[in-house]
Symmetry: C2
Subunit: 310 residues, 2 copies
């Protein structure tokens, strides 16, 4: 197979595009896909300060590398979630990458700053860890971006992630979530703008990008996510993609072109009735925001007697 662009021997084939690429043309292809996502969805305006959330994995490090390659002087944000060895290694990976390139990395440790971590938080609210983790990350990302004067927060959600989330939302016709599922969640009082510049690149493309550009990422996946619904949806979409290459992209992009706007009003409704949380100031529709409720339950001092009898 030859590179679609320069006819040199290809090192990767992208079935969805029915095309092979050499290493140089492939990294250019990745940059172009990110450029196109940013332009199409007006993710970043000139002069805006961008913070990228990094976990040490292929998607977030790849994203940081790509944004820098496109000329955005993005800084990184690493949040320590306290998930045992996995968090230790993912922090090491993020720090090593930042240090190697000399790019600033902000760090927030969930336990040191808020007094709990993902495992203890999940136990406290009796929810699956991914639920406590997502809730915490959304809050801390927004908090850290605002506190440090960033306008935009970028995350490494790729095409596979977004298609799997979309499948879950569609299977339950979660109209509010469908209205909010978009590569850009615009800034609003108390919220920085959230963007997903990797929506045009699949998981396999990100892994190849990292390998070809020498990015040393943590390969291990979060051990707490194993067997969750989201991964189940990813597997199902991979089965469909195997039979009909391009289905995932058609599903996600078709939604963005022809589906999303039909649900947008449902999301606006949800955002209409927000006020600042009395504990932390973050916008919330409830008395106290869900992060502060999680924190309160996870950091409550349990009397010794009660603990023993549990």
């Amino acid at each position: 197979m030859k590179c679609r662009r320069c006819r040199a021997p290809a090192v990767i084939d992208v079935r969805r595009h029915n095309a092979g690429f050499c290493a140089d043309c492939f990294t250019r292809h990745c940059r172009e896909q990110v450029r196109r996502a940013i332009d199409d969805h007006e993710m970043i305006a000139p002069g805006q300060r961008v913070l990228v959330a990094v976990s040490g994995g292929k998607d977030s490090l790849g994203l940081w590398h790509l944004l820098r390659a496109l000329g955005y002087e993005t800084d990184g944000l690493y949040v320590g979630l306290g998930i045992g060895e996995y968090s230790d290694e993912s922090g090491d990976s993020a720090r090593a990458f930042a240090h190697e390139h000399g790019w600033p990395l902000l760090e927030v440790d969930l336990r040191a700053t808020y007094g709990f971590d993902v495992p203890s938080g999940a136990r406290a609210i009796r929810r699956v860890p991914c639920s406590a983790c997502g809730l915490s990350k959304r809050h801390v990302f927004n908090d850290a971006a605002r506190a440090n004067g960033y306008d935009v927060l970028a995350t490494g959600h790729n095409l596979d992630d977004e298609a799997a989330v979309l499948l879950g939302n569609v299977l339950r016709w979660e109209t509010g979530y469908l209205g909010r599922q978009h590569p850009v969640l615009p800034a609003a009082p108390g919220f920085v703008q959230k963007v997903k510049p990797l929506v045009r690149l699949g998981e396999r493309e990100l892994a190849a990008y990292c390998v070809l550009t020498g990015i040393d990422y943590i390969v291990e996946e979060c051990p707490m996510a194993a067997g969750n619904r989201h991964l189940g949806y990813k597997e199902l979409l991979n089965e469909i993609e195997e039979r009909s290459p391009g289905t995932k992209a058609a599903f996600l992009f078709g939604f963005l072109e022809r589906g999303h706007e039909r649900f947008a009003a449902d999301a606006v409704e949800e955002r209409a009735d927000l006020h600042p949380c009395p504990e932390c100031g973050a916008p919330t529709p409830a008395d106290v925001c869900s992060f502060c409720r999680l924190r309160a339950r996870a950091t409550r001092v349990i009397p010794v007697a009660a603990e023993n009898s549990a």
Copy 2:
């Protein structure tokens, strides 16, 4: 396990309802689901004449039996599609059932009436057989119902069928198809009303209904459908259902409650610009309707020389 209603020993459990039923209560449950579908979606008005399309399989014979049990004096329609032994056996099954109950069965043979069958039609238009078959059935069902003075045509599409079609439509965001996907397609000039009274019952429930009420149906599936996309979507949904019972029903009913109306305008647009086909009189947006085009290509006399050189 005991029957949810009468506490007698259960003969079937319906995981989606998290309930077991004895034979009598299960057949009552099936009737109630059909009654509810008919009422909720206003499928049949008092005094309307209903024709049910029967293939000899569990869904269509079950539907005919259920409609009669609910007091609708429904007649049957069998269309001979010319799919070898499968069609022979499915015709025998439909005829035996109609004869046993003394219910009128109309018959239309595709080859005898229109000069081609599904295999030759599919070859002529170089499409998969399911495409030529669906096109032909839609046309012949409507034609037969109108010619014989019926107001409503009922088909045996069940919850599994409809969920699989919905998945295919959603994966490609076929907005026109999504707008048309509904248990009722209302009457319009040239069209009788089409209804799907089995949308609240799954494949497994229909099979159990037939077994428990002594309906002798043809178990064999159409050999030409093997490996088609629709069956692939069914398998995927079965995998999801296995992990989370109730997903299929939530997917379909959620769409009908919260999704469908957002796409309805796209379907109306497609139906707005119809005129009678000059060949057969059926409404069509094209010069000649797609059934007549299929028929013309399938019945074209091919010169012997051309056939030999093919």
